[in-house]
């Protein structure tokens, strides 16, 4: 799972690999990431993306998809 901005800083890296069972959702992947990164424990509502498009937490992910989690955006 790709991480950006404060999440990346908290994790100390740009991406994290986690193991999830087949049929897991984006939200479940994020749960696993939070288990590994204590500084992210409080982050219950990240923005989530699947294959470079915003996705909801209940979307089922599959092998080979590019998934990402990040805080509210602040570009411009």
């Amino acid at each position: 799972m790709l991480l950006f901005a404060r999440y990346r800083e908290a994790a100390g890296r740009a991406a994290l690999e986690v193991d999830v069972p087949a049929g897991a959702t984006l939200g479940q992947v994020w749960e696993r990431v939070r288990e590994q990164v204590p500084a992210l424990r409080g982050e219950e509502r990240p923005l989530l993306a699947c294959d470079r498009a915003y996705s909801s937490a209940d979307r089922v992910v599959s092998e080979g998809q590019e998934i990402a989690a990040f805080p509210p955006v602040s570009g411009g």
């Binding site: 901005a5 923005l47 993306a49 990402a68 990040f70 955006v73 570009g75 411009g76």
Partner: protein, 143 residues
């Protein structure tokens, strides 16, 4: 049809965006340039830093261009966003919208920058004299 959507790790130029959208059948080009400001919320800012999820951000910018085309009837849109570290005064974002007439160009440009701030996966980090902080969420106070 013009369309230029780029996340750039280096200086961006309003002139490039204006040149990309102009053309003989258009009478109006509206642009918005966001620049690194030396203060925020009463605090002195010494530099800005932007990080982007670049491939997704470029898709989002392209989608914003398509929204402008649909809502304002003109496909001539350019959006450039800089990432990395910026000195105060440097441009962080440039939006240019050209149209046959001024109202569509002005409204399309204002719409595009609002959408960019709400949707593009890009984050700003402010550097102060004594530290730095990620900014989260687009605020009314922002440039």
């Amino acid at each position: 049809m013009s369309g230029l959507y780029r996340i750039e790790d280096g200086p961006i130029d309003p002139g490039e965006a204006i040149g990309a959208v102009g053309g003989p059948d258009r009478g109006a080009i509206a642009t918005f340039t966001g620049t690194a400001r030396d203060h925020h919320g009463g605090r002195r800012v010494v530099a800005l830093e932007y990080q982007a999820y670049a491939p997704m951000a470029e898709e989002v910018l392209r989608a914003i261009g398509a929204e402008v085309a649909e809502r304002f009837g003109t496909p001539h849109v350019a959006i450039l966003h800089r990432i990395g570290r910026l000195a105060i005064g440097e441009a962080s974002v440039v939006v240019a919208v050209a149209a046959a007439h001024r109202r569509e160009a002005l409204a399309g440009c204002a719409y595009a920058i609002e959408r960019l701030k709400a949707m593009a996966p890009i984050w700003k980090r402010e550097h102060y004299e004594d530290g730095a902080a990620w900014i989260e969420g687009c605020t009314d106070a922002g440039g």
